[in-house]
């Protein structure tokens, strides 16, 4: 789960990470008041879940409270398009007004899980302020890392080593070490998959300040973080994806026209690949799960049918615990509720496959049956 910059900063402040004075605004007037409080000049930052905000005009430096209000009004209530949002952009409902910083250096600091080493890793770079992917591509030697033993935690010698690599000295190095230690605590105590400060700045008088804050929370850990669940902002998510998530259905919206209903994540990815290889573009990834009921299958199919781009539906169910007859009933139920008549390609296999096929046959829906994935691909190709 992603959260906004202002929410991540509220979390950071609980751990003592130094930041600038800032205020969340939802109107131009609030933005002007905040800028006034910070001495007139301020930065106005659109709050959306995607990165690349600067490139999309979502970060503006205002020279006066009036200008802060103007920038805020230009952002609020609109969709901001950045290189990471897609062409529709993401809606801006809050802006963060922050005082101006005296930036001497821009650094990068982050923690994530290294899957190969199966441990947390802290990354640091003297090349902050640009995306770390760009640094990795252009200057991989400028990224320093420390693998963290999960039983020991981040040790002081590791923070000293990173601070030295960043060419920091004296009090500045010590302050950076404290930020690293605090960031590790943020990461562990909130079950983050990513905690990132980009840039972490060194000010003219040698202070260390987190100018930005990015936190991704692990979905599978949210059950033990009631307070973090409340940070969710469904307005930043695709509407259908948000509805699916509420139902516990793994659904990812794609750009094509073939709606896909599958049980199991691997089989779902495989089904999309089969459709693509047959020259069709999948409209979605959807794993309805192993223990689904007919009702849940119906909800899943309704989500598929709610996507206006969908012109046909491919069903691939390997019946086990999810019986084919239940899956078939769910499909029929959703078609009835939606009054849909879109063509179906259905491949059922496993438990109660005959019953499932009969339910679909007797429903009167426009179903073409396939016995195998290869046959399903053939039908998709021919229905082009």
């Amino acid at each position: 789960m992603k959260i906004h910059e202002y929410q991540a900063k509220e979390l950071f402040s609980k751990y003592g990470i130094p930041m600038l004075r800032r205020r969340v605004a939802t109107t131009g007037q609030e933005a002007a008041q905040a800028a006034q409080e910070f001495g007139g000049r301020a930065v106005v930052k659109a709050q959306i879940h995607a990165g690349g905000r600067g490139k999309g005009g979502g970060i503006q430096v205002a020279a006066s409270p009036e200008e802060a209000a103007e920038f805020a009004k230009g952002m609020l209530g609109r969709n901001l398009v950045t290189p990471q949002t897609g062409p529709e952009g993401a809606p801006v409902r809050q802006v963060l007004i922050e005082e101006l910083a005296d930036i001497q250096r821009e650094l990068y600091l982050a923690i994530t899980i290294d899957r190969t080493q199966q441990a947390p890793i802290m990354l640091a770079s003297p090349m902050g302020g640009v995306s770390i992917e760009e640094v990795a591509a252009s200057n991989p030697e400028a990224i320093y890392s420390q693998m963290i033993d999960p039983l020991l935690g981040l040790m002081p010698f590791q923070t000293r080593s990173l601070a030295a690599a960043l060419d920091l000295q004296g009090d500045t190095a010590r302050a950076a070490g404290q930020v690293m230690t605090a960031l590790y605590r943020v990461f562990v105590e909130n079950d983050c998959t990513l905690a990132e400060i980009n840039p972490l700045i060194v000010t003219g008088d040698g202070a260390i300040v987190a100018l930005d804050a990015k936190i991704n929370l692990e979905d599978d850990s949210l059950f033990r973080h009631q307070e973090l669940q409340e940070l969710r902002d469904p307005s930043q998510e695709d509407e259908l994806e948000a509805r699916a998530a509420e139902l516990g259905i793994a659904y990812v919206k794609l750009d094509g026209d073939v709606g896909c209903l599958v049980n199991g994540a691997g089989l779902a990815m495989a089904t999309l690949d089969v459709a693509s290889a047959a020259g069709a573009a999948p409209a979605n990834f959807l794993d309805v799960g192993g223990g689904a009921t007919a009702e849940l299958v119906a909800d899943a199919v309704e989500i598929i049918l709610s996507d206006p781009k969908v012109t046909r539906v491919l069903v691939n169910i390997f019946g086990g615990i999810l019986r084919c007859d239940l899956a078939a009933s769910g499909v029929v139920l959703a078609y009835q509720r939606k009054g849909s008549n879109l063509p179906l390609v259905v491949r059922l296999l496993g438990t109660n496959v005959e019953e499932g096929c009969n339910i679909l046959r007797e429903s009167g829906l426009p179903v073409t049956f396939a016995d195998s994935l290869a046959e399903a691909a053939q039908v998709i190709r021919e229905s082009g």
């Binding site: 899957r115 979905d219 850990s221 994540a265 615990i321």
Partner: protein, 293 residues
């Protein structure tokens, strides 16, 4: 022969009195698996299906039944404790089916397990099955499997069943099938499973099924190039997945170049694996490779 489990496997089921645990314990027993014990804290003294003793603790179950495999069906919040308990009792093979264990719990468990002579399969996996030994330690439908000489290793559940269905329908039986799990941090990797297949005289060919996310497939490719002596047919799914989106499995997310399907396929191809063109061609590709052997 088979890998990991055989006729001497004595299976204990953690969470045997739960809905999923009891359903699958029965199904494993019906397949021929020797389920010798169950563990559910607070339910010690009961009998499962009138014959399998249920214990309060894993150590006690191991002491009294000599169980040497544990199959775990415990909800995500309690599964790390269940895995650690099995490791503490030195159960040599621990198979965790549970999906949704917090990744940082797995991060902390990994060094703990590394200090013990135990192997973890999963979590978030369908388990494993050896049709040649009539032993199923997992949730896969036993009926689709046929005894034979092809090994299957996969990060997925239902896609593994799809692969097995295609193989069996062409008369290609399996020695062992292992689902290593769809989470970012798992106990047994492709390389670990391939090493076991390499040493198994009754496996001639391995079908490897990978997916986007991480770099386990590249590690497998390096090992196939260096030391694996048998032919490999490889499929990597998720070519259509957009970057940064979790495709169901917690581990199936594109976070960098290595995590992409095309990078994995290229590594496996360069290592000499036969690439399965689409998921519809698993059986046919294996059949063609077997015909050339």
């Amino acid at each position: 022969m088979s890998i990991l489990v055989n006729e001497n496997s004595r299976v204990l089921v953690q969470g045997i009195t739960g809905r999923e645990g009891s359903f699958h314990a029965s199904s494993c027993m019906a397949y021929g698996t020797n389920v010798v014990a169950g563990v559910t804290p607070g339910r010690g003294g009961q009998l499962f299906e009138d014959r399998v003793p249920v214990f309060d603790a894993v150590a006690q179950a191991v002491r009294e039944t000599q169980a040497n495999v544990s199959l775990i069906f415990v909800p995500p919040a309690f599964a790390p404790d269940a895995i650690a308990e099995a490791a503490d009792a030195l159960v040599p093979l621990i198979v965790c089916i549970t999906e949704g264990i917090p990744v940082q719990d797995m991060v902390r468990l990994t060094p703990y397990l590394a200090g013990k002579q135990v192997r973890l399969i999963g979590p978030n996996c369908p388990g494993l099955i050896s049709p040649v030994a009539s032993c199923k330690v997992g949730i896969m439908p036993g009926s689709i499997h046929r005894p034979g000489r092809t090994g299957v290793v996969s990060r997925s559940g239902t896609l593994t069943y799809e692969a097995v269905e295609q193989l069996s329908s062409l008369g290609i039986g399996q020695s062992s099938c292992v689902g290593i799990g769809g989470d970012p941090i798992i106990g047994t990797s492709f390389v670990d499973a391939l090493r076991l297949f390499n040493d198994d005289p009754d496996t001639d060919l391995v079908v490897l099924i990978g997916e986007i996310g991480g770099s386990l497939e590249q590690d497998a490719a390096a090992y196939i190039k260096e030391g694996f002596t048998k032919p490999v047919c490889a499929l990597v799914v998720g070519a259509t997945a957009p970057p940064g989106k979790r495709m169901g499995h917690a581990g199936a997310i594109i976070t960098g170049e290595d995590a992409r399907a095309d990078a994995k396929i290229q590594a496996l191809r360069e290592a000499g694996a036969t690439i399965i063109p689409t998921p519809a061609d698993i059986g046919a590709t294996a059949q063609a490779v077997l015909a050339r052997m």
